[in-house]
């Protein structure tokens, strides 16, 4: 694998690591979600670039001939549409995850008064100690 011919993988890897780093290193819940979103987008890029066939055109048949006699030209290379179709589902999943995550963040903010991981953990600990005694 060389940098020149497979540069799209490096883009994917860079995005993926950026996203994962944000998810793990940030303490703010909203930022965590944004990182998660970047991470998911990197996978979408991975799939979409996978479908590209060198010299291929859009996967819609180019017709040969006129009117009713037209037949698909199979000599032309077409890109693979399947990964794109799969990613439609992945995009929907990503949106649902983001919506649910943000909804949870709203509820966390309402009940804890903060969206910072440290504050939430500290409040949980205090509550647990109060119950213990």
């Amino acid at each position: 694998m060389t940098l020149a011919t497979h540069w799209h993988y490096w883009v994917v890897i860079a995005l993926m690591m950026t996203g994962l780093h944000i998810v793990i290193a940030r303490r703010n819940y909203v930022k965590k979600l944004m990182g998660l979103s970047i991470f998911q987008v990197s996978v979408i890029m991975l799939y979409v670039t996978m479908g590209k066939v060198e010299g291929g055109t859009a996967p819609v048949y180019v017709m040969k001939g006129e009117g009713h006699d037209a037949v698909p030209n199979l000599e032309i290379a077409y890109s693979n549409p399947v990964p794109h179709v799969l990613m439609l589902t992945a995009i929907v999943v990503g949106i649902a995850t983001m919506a649910l995550g943000l909804a949870l963040v709203v509820r966390i903010k309402e009940s804890y008064g903060s969206v910072e991981d440290d504050v939430v953990i500290e409040k949980d600990r205090a509550e647990e100690e109060a119950l213990e005694s």
Partner: protein
């Protein structure tokens, strides 16, 4: 009837999937409850119907969605193993709903009950779909359907902690799901197909071609899928989300999740290692079993069980015990033998029934005492004798005392360990079972050997005891008459290990 029977594989998923939005629209309190229960019961009947159908066949049944034959079309595969898993999952889901009736009314407030039941059925549909589909991308879609509904179900717990537990689960679960997606993508890249059987064949051809030098893309795909599934299965050290999620979820959800979610993922792990990449390759050349899975499983067995000893509440204790039990599941797989997978499937069934039953008992305790803190259970043996006895019954099942389902599966696990000459591992299994004795005994001591607090009245929840006794009764029945299930697990394991006979020429990886 036969017409209908032919469509059982798809109905299994379609029934709960279509009932869910219906429930969200109906909103009527009682109608919603009855309809959800009926739908789950119908699914359970279909699940057991599939077991019978799969037992009659040598080859796995294949259902072609929309009449499109595989590998282009999506295929549902009813193998002995997948039928076994869906039957257990759908039955526990139905029993969990039975438990849910009164508990859920108390815990899920604010007119959200119809949404609770809708999410519950969506989760069920996702889990069943994941187990039965023969299409790799379908696995991801169903995984996310079940996961997303699980996050919202966990968030419906009655403490604010439920929100942060659900959020943590969402973050880690999404990372896990996305890792699986990456793995499937890479597999598609090298094989050009999404059909499980087709992928298995082509991967085997590639592995044969690569011989000793591994195919790097395949290795990376394998690593991504294993880490992703490991996160969702809560394999030590990827278990951080599990205790919070199980402890804070509403009682019915805890019982449902403990008995089903990790079990379906475990089945995916079986398929990934044994079917996708081939047992010979994964456990032979890669040494994934002895060098990766086995140490992690043993660590999980001990650390999960030891952590369970120190938990202040019953739910958290049972949750950590689940981390330990997942260790047994993956340990069974790590031998890489048919006997190991058989033991794994047996333990899957045994633990699902036992742990779901125990969470039902906890629901009854919470309804009666108002808390599941162990220090508040003083003298429960006298205050609520049946409930306390049911807990003991479940507890001995967790330990693996003869006569319970837990014994049958641990026996199989030990046999598998001896057969593959892992004597030390067999000893460690026994040793870790002793830790289970400690955490169960801790509760028993409080329940039976401490005087009940004066003047405190407690009334057990009879409704919650019905599913608890059914599940724990099933555990006893399975423990006393293990033969049918043991045979089923043996056949299921054998079928999983059957490799595609003739391997077609290596496909041209024309992508990327």
């Amino acid at each position: 009837m036969n017409e209908l029977k032919a469509h059982f594989p798809v109905l299994l998923v379609v029934v709960p999937l279509l009932t869910a939005p219906l429930l969200a629209l109906i909103r009527h309190k009682h109608a919603v409850r009855v309809l959800a229960l009926l739908s789950a019961l119908a699914t359970a009947v279909i699940g057991w119907g599939l077991v019978i159908a799969a037992r009659e066949q040598v080859e796995p049944l294949s259902y072609h969605l929309g009449g499109w034959p595989p590998p282009i079309g999506i295929e549902y595969v009813v193998s002995q193993a997948s039928a076994f898993v869906v039957a257990i999952v759908s039955s526990i889901a139905a029993l969990g709903l039975l438990l849910g009736t009164r508990e859920t009314r108390r815990e899920v407030t604010g007119g959200q009950q119809h949404l609770f039941y809708a999410a519950y059925l969506l989760c069920l549909a996702g889990l069943l779909g994941m187990a039965i589909t023969g299409d790799a991308f379908n696995v991801f879609v169903f995984l996310e359907i079940s996961s997303l509904s699980t996050y919202s179900l966990v968030a419906m717990g009655n403490r604010r902690r439920a929100f942060s537990a659900a959020f943590n689960y969402l973050i880690l679960g999404t990372i896990g799901g996305t890792f699986v997606l990456i793995g499937i993508g890479l597999l598609y890249q090298v094989t050009g197909t999404l059909n499980v059987a087709d992928i298995a064949q082509k991967v085997q051809a590639l592995e044969n071609l690569a011989q000793d030098s591994h195919n790097t893309t395949l290795l990376v795909a394998f690593a991504f899928m294993i880490v992703g599934l490991g996160l969702k299965l809560a394999v030590f050290p990827l278990h951080q989300w599990l205790p919070g999620a199980y402890a804070e979820a509403p009682a019915a959800v805890s019982a449902f999740l403990a008995g089903t979610a990790t079990k379906v993922i475990y089945f995916q792990l079986l398929r990934t290692t044994v079917v996708f990449f081939g047992a010979a390759h994964v456990f032979g050349a890669l040494r994934f079993g002895t060098h990766v899975l086995m140490p992690l499983s043993i660590a999980g067995m001990f650390i999960g069980s030891i952590a369970a000893v120190y938990q202040p509440t019953l739910k958290r204790m049972l949750a950590y015990s689940s981390v330990g039990q997942v260790g047994y599941l993956t340990l069974a797989l790590s031998f890489g033998t048919e006997a190991g997978v058989q033991a794994g499937l047996l333990h899957l069934g045994a633990h699902a029934v036992t742990k779901a039953g125990l969470f039902c008992v906890v629901a009854a305790i919470v309804a009666g005492v108002g808390s599941n803190r162990i220090q508040r259970l003083h003298g429960l043996g006298r205050r609520m004798p049946i409930v306390a006895f049911a807990f003991v019954l479940g507890g001995v099942g967790l330990i693996g005392v003869p006569g319970t389902a837990g014994f049958v599966s641990k026996w199989a696990l030990l046999q598998a360990a001896f057969a593959s000459e892992h004597y030390l591992v067999a000893g460690l299994v026994l040793l870790s079972s002793l830790v289970a004795v400690v955490y169960v005994w801790r509760v028993v001591e409080v329940m039976y050997f401490r005087a009940p607090p004066v003047g405190e009245k407690s009334t057990p929840d009879r409704m919650a005891m019905v599913p608890a006794l059914v599940l724990l009764g099933a555990s006893l029945l399975f423990g006393l008459f293990p033969d049918p299930v043991v045979e089923l697990a043996a056949d299921a394991a054998h079928q999983l290990f059957l490799q595609p006979v003739d391997v077609p020429p290596v496909p041209v990886g024309g992508h990327g």
